[in-house]
């Protein structure tokens, strides 16, 4: 059904979903004849469905692997920061990337080793394949693996709630979804903010992507052009999706 009617199906990443919805809401106001359905499912579903042609635009919250890229055109909406979050009662506040790596790989197991009280560290990670985890692993863990006994949560909010409830927990969440009921840790002295993400000094970040099979055409192209244009960029900025400076 792609292209033939004035309906655009946007399918994929649940992290991108709210932004995509906001975009389609505004776009439809000025283009009443176009219908845009935003459907979640996850980045994998987005990549798969756009490759199979069942959706017009696939969305992803992580960069694609080489074999996934085949035949797809990527449009980067912007960067989302990954914030390492701890409980507001926790005294720790600044960690280096190496410390983070040691914490998540299980070499550091007690908060007192890194400036907190004497309590063991409860690790909260994300599920295999999540865009957030993908970025965190690439940027922090390097060749090390996250300790296999770490608690796995399947969504940004669930990680936030887990950290909010447990004074000894540590996890990582999307910058766009950050709020002050948990505490953001400085990484290597840099605290996450729109500026530090934009200029790349805050290193933990991942892209939000729109994917199209082949070249974008017709209504789909019009929509993507609009998204990448000034009006779209303004909305993306409101949603804390940050355009990289370089």
């Amino acid at each position: 059904n792609s292209g033939s009617s004035a309906t655009i199906n946007v399918v994929g990443s649940t992290s991108v979903q709210p932004v995509a919805e906001k975009l389609s809401e505004t776009y439809k106001a000025s283009h009443p004849d176009v219908k845009i359905n935003v459907q979640g499912g996850g980045s994998g579903v987005g990549i798969k469905s756009v490759a199979e042609g069942t959706s017009d635009i696939g969305t992803s919250s992580k960069s694609l692997k080489a074999d996934e890229k085949k035949g797809l055109t990527e449009y980067t909406l912007g960067q989302d920061g990954i914030v390492v979050a701890i409980n507001t009662k926790n005294a720790a506040s600044d960690l280096t990337k190496d410390q983070l790596k040691d914490i998540f790989s299980g070499k550091i197991t007690n908060w007192k080793e890194i400036g907190g009280s004497d309590a063991s560290i409860n690790l909260i990670t994300r599920e295999e394949g999540s865009g957030t985890l993908d970025a965190f692993e690439k940027l922090v863990m390097g060749d090390d693996k996250i300790k296999s006994s770490a608690i796995v949560q399947s969504s940004t909010e669930a990680v936030k709630q887990s950290v909010k409830q447990d004074p000894n927990a540590i996890g990582f969440v999307s910058f766009a979804a950050m709020s002050d009921d948990v505490k953001a840790i400085k990484v290597g002295g840099v605290s996450p903010s729109e500026e530090t993400i934009a200029d790349g000094t805050y290193e933990l970040q991942r892209p939000f992507l729109f994917l199209v099979k082949g070249e974008a055409k017709g209504e789909v192209k019009a929509f993507i052009d609009w998204v990448m244009g000034t009006e779209g960029s303004k909305i993306l900025a409101d949603e804390k999706i940050i355009k990289a400076k370089k």
Binding site: T14, N37, Q39, S155
Partner: protein
Amino acid sequence: MNINKIIPPKIAQKIMNGLFIASGLLTILILILVLGYVLVKGLPVVNLEFLLADPIDSGRAGGIFPMIISSIYVTAIAGIIATPLGIGAAIYIVEYANANRAVRLIRFGAEILASIPSIVYGLFGLAFFVVFLQFNWSVLSGGLILAIMALPTIFQVSEVTLSSIPSSYREGSYGLGASKWQTIYRVVVPAAIPGIVTGIILGMTRAISEAAAVMFSVGSALQTPISIFDPGRPLPLHLYTLATEGISLDNAYGTAAVLVIIVLVITIGTNLIVDRYQRKMTGG
């Protein structure tokens, strides 16, 4: 029976009564805790605007009207399809089938259907209804998935109830020259109504509260579905997105509260009707 000698019947009765009442109270406590949790957290955001407005900003503001309509759509489709299929199959098994192996196979099939995880239904729905049958992301696809999910509950509960109907009712009817089908729909099914309704309620409450199974098939669209081929976003799915992506926990609870109230109204209403019906039939 030996237990009688160790614990006299009267004491046993007292102990068991204690246990019954304790478990009744425990269940009530759980009820109050869970329902109370949802209502206390959710009711503050529920007002007329919340019920009747479209969501704004992915649901951070505005209301949940399209979700209510979507929920009605998918649940109705599920009910319209699963109820006759479930009851029909139960009738066939209890009243017609006598080949024992086929019966056991069908029963076993229903039990398996009842145990399949909703997420697998979700994936199956995507592959089968959305892609293969070309129903696209629509309330129809979602409703069909929910129908398959609700089917085994309706079937199994109806089957048990139908087989507990005394055969003297059937004999009375056959004795008057009623055909098999007349006997079934005039005597046997009416006598089994209370149980069948329990099955339908349980099947439908499962359908109306399901998110994972429709996640990949209903479309998640924020606008109100008009035809069954339009995409929609049933309440549980909206709630799921609001809650897990950290969009608005308050509105998530509000959505949950609305859903709970809808279900509560439906179950209480149906139970009252069934109760009155049953008393009229049996003269209790």
